[in-house]
Amino acid sequence: MRFLLVEDNLNLASATADRLSLDGHVVDHAPDLETAKDYVGTTSYDLVLLDIMLPDGDGRSFLNHLRTARIDTPVIAVTARSEVSDRVGILDLGADDYITKPFDFSELEARCRAVLRRRAGATSNAQRIGDIEFNRLAGTLSYGDETVALRTRELRLLELLVDNSNIILSKTKLVDRMFSYDEDVSENAIEVYIGRLRKHLAGSHVSITTIRGIGYRLDV
């Protein structure tokens, strides 16, 4: 996905850009509203991450700009303010959602997914892997005539396996990516989800192989 990150704090911006590119996203960074307006005028983005407090004005005026310029890129506002003070204002002005600093990237991802799902209706995002069809946005897995809805963790696990197909992923790495940092989860918890995915994949030519003592691998 292509993100526009509007954030005046350069350290935070570069860290965020790094973190998003780790998941394979492309990120353009605008340090102020003027640059951000230039960017949205020339490139089309899947999502805008908009800091509300910026040196050359309130992020809300950018939301206004998008509306008047009829650019309907979804916007997730990033706010450092107290949640109590201005949530209503942000959503009223046309942001699709907002997230409070500092945020867990798994939460950001979940919010992006929810926003995109709301916007796109999840139509043309199916990805073909071997003889199965995987729709990340809708969270569905199809094989033949059958389509199953994946639970969020199943979906995230499958995403990880698909993005690293034919590569061994350690249990620790999987736990790290699948669970947010504020949860205490044993590595054995992964086995439950692996088991469920195997059930969903049963019959297809795609399979998950256990590499004893190391981790798992998706074989396509």
């Binding site: 704090n9 350290n11 935070l12 860290a15 965020t16 790094d18 973190r19 780790l22 407090m53 450092a80 303010r81 107290s82 949640e83 109590v84 003070s85 949530r87 209503v88 959602d97 409070t100 600093k101 500092p102 945020f103 867990d104 990237f105 798994s106 939460e107 979940a110 919010r111 997914r113 929810a114 639970r151 969020t152 963790r153 350690s170 620790t172 790290d176 947010s180 940092y181 504020d182 949860e183 205490d184």
Partner: protein, 456 residues
């Protein structure tokens, strides 16, 4: 908060004016009565003297003898005033001539030939005048004294009558003065009362200066009141700005550190390093959550102090929170279900209620088991609206009731990130709205349950 009341100013003012009027009325009665008595006595004396003088004028000498002819008018003028009895006597030198010989005679001299005496005579109070002149009788100069006396019943009656009038006059004056003082006190204090009323009618957030015209004496009061209002408004604005600024300053660097730590954890190959980094990230989360909730609490306090309720449908307000928290719930495959009853209109501050409910739901999502359910439902009756959040987590222990106190965390809190402020904030918000929040455990199955009541 109530100031110490020193009693009604109006009542005090009226009391003072009435006491003053009473004193003045008493003085008026006294002065009037004194004046009337003197006047009556003086006029009696004058008549007595005129009577005595006319008798004395008619005393003449005839061949060395004394002729006393009491003129009718001399006694008639006394009788015309009242029915008092009149006595007289005439003396030639030391010798009694005619009249009542037991009537006492005052000494008179050439220098002072008239003297008035009040005394008793035959059991009555009398007023007597003795006047004298020298008469040449047979070559000898003799002092002729005429004494006229009158009883004082008539004078007493007249004085009583005058006293009654004086009292009536005093009372009339008193009643009039009292009426006037009530009127004055009420009128003078009216601007004060109007001001007090308009101050008390103001909403807590209504921080406009007072501009209504007031009497000159009240101008300093109004200007210092306006000064207070301006300072209060500035202080409130400053606290709000401060909270916003503090939030920004604290949260942005925390976000940077956290993001960098996440990036680093993806690049680290050794598991034990990743574990360490995980712990770091959790510590960051804990501090940022605590900072966030402290700031939230400050903001909540500001808003509850100046509560601005609006009439809303609680269901819409809750739906917003649920929509917003759904992605977070989905991260743990938790289903957020809602059951809304009809007619959940309440007068509340929606932002505060959303914050409180968001805290409660956030808690429930955090503590409930993965892939379980968090249920939010509303119901309503004539009294108010009820809201219930139940989860399928470990529930609240009996000892967990003080969880609503600041920084207290339940036993379930071990192993999850939290600051212990969420329930406190929520409880405070509902209490500020006149509502109540109770924690309990589900009777069927496991899980905790939060019940909230909000009055209409």
């Amino acid at each position: 908060m109530k100031g110490r009341a020193l009693g009604s100013m109006r009542r005090q003012m009226i009391a003072q004016l009435v006491v003053g009027a009473a004193l003045l009325a008493a003085l008026l009665i006294f002065v009037f009565q004194d004046f009337a008595r003197r006047f009556a006595e003086e006029s009696q004396d004058n008549v007595l003297l005129a009577s005595a003088t006319s008798i004395l004028e008619n005393v003449s000498e005839d061949a060395g003898g004394l002729i006393v002819d009491i003129p009718y008018a001399a006694l008639a003028m006394l009788g015309s005033v009242s029915d008092d009895r009149v006595f007289y006597r005439v003396d030639q030198g030391p010798t009694f001539v005619t009249g009542y010989d037991d009537l006492s005679v005052a000494e008179t001299t050439t220098a002072n030939d008239t003297s008035f005496v009040s005394s008793g005579f035959r059991g009555d109070q009398i007023r007597a005048v003795t006047t004298s002149r020298l008469l040449s009788l047979g070559g000898q100069t003799q002092r002729i004294r005429v004494t006229v006396a009158q009883t004082q019943d008539g004078l007493g009656d007249r004085l009583d009558e005058l006293f009654r009038r004086a009292v009536l006059l005093g009372l009339g004056f008193f009643v009039l003065a009292t009426g006037l003082s009530v009127w004055t006190a009420t009128r003078v204090l009216r601007p004060m009362q109007e001001l007090a009323l308009s101050v008390s009618r103001r909403g807590p957030d209504e921080l406009r200066p007072f501009e209504r015209p007031v009497p000159t004496e009240m101008v300093p009061l109004i200007s210092s009141l306006n000064g207070f209002i301006a300072r209060l408004r500035r202080a409130l604005d400053r606290s709000e700005d401060f909270i916003t600024e503090a939030a920004h300053r604290v949260r942005t660097p925390l976000a940077t550190v956290r993001t960098q730590a996440e990036v680093l954890s993806r690049r680290i190959e050794r598991d034990e390093n990743r574990q360490t980094l995980r712990k770091m990230i959790r510590a960051i989360d804990e501090s940022s959550r605590a900072a966030g909730q402290l700031l939230d609490q400050a903001m909540v306090n500001l808003r509850t102090d100046a509560l601005q309720p609006t009439q809303i449908d609680l269901n819409d307000c809750l739906q917003d929170v649920v929509t917003r928290l759904t992605p977070v719930a989905e991260l743990r495959d938790i289903e957020l279900t809602t059951t809304f009853a009809d007619d959940c209109h309440v007068s509340v501050d929606p932002i505060l209620i959303q914050n409180a409910v968001s805290n409660l739901l956030d808690n429930a999502i955090k503590y409930t088991s993965a892939e379980s359910r968090v249920a939010l439902s509303t119901s309503s009756d004539g009294d108010g609206v009820y809201l219930k959040i139940s989860d399928e987590g470990p529930g609240f222990e009996a000892v967990d009731q003080p969880l609503t106190e600041r920084f207290v965390r339940g036993s379930a809190g071990e192993g999850t990130v939290g600051s212990g402020l969420g329930l406190t904030i929520a409880a405070e918000v509902f209490e500020a709205h006149g509502g109540k929040m109770t924690l309990s455990n589900n009777t069927e199955g496991k899980g905790g349950c939060v019940d909230v009541y909000l009055p209409r």
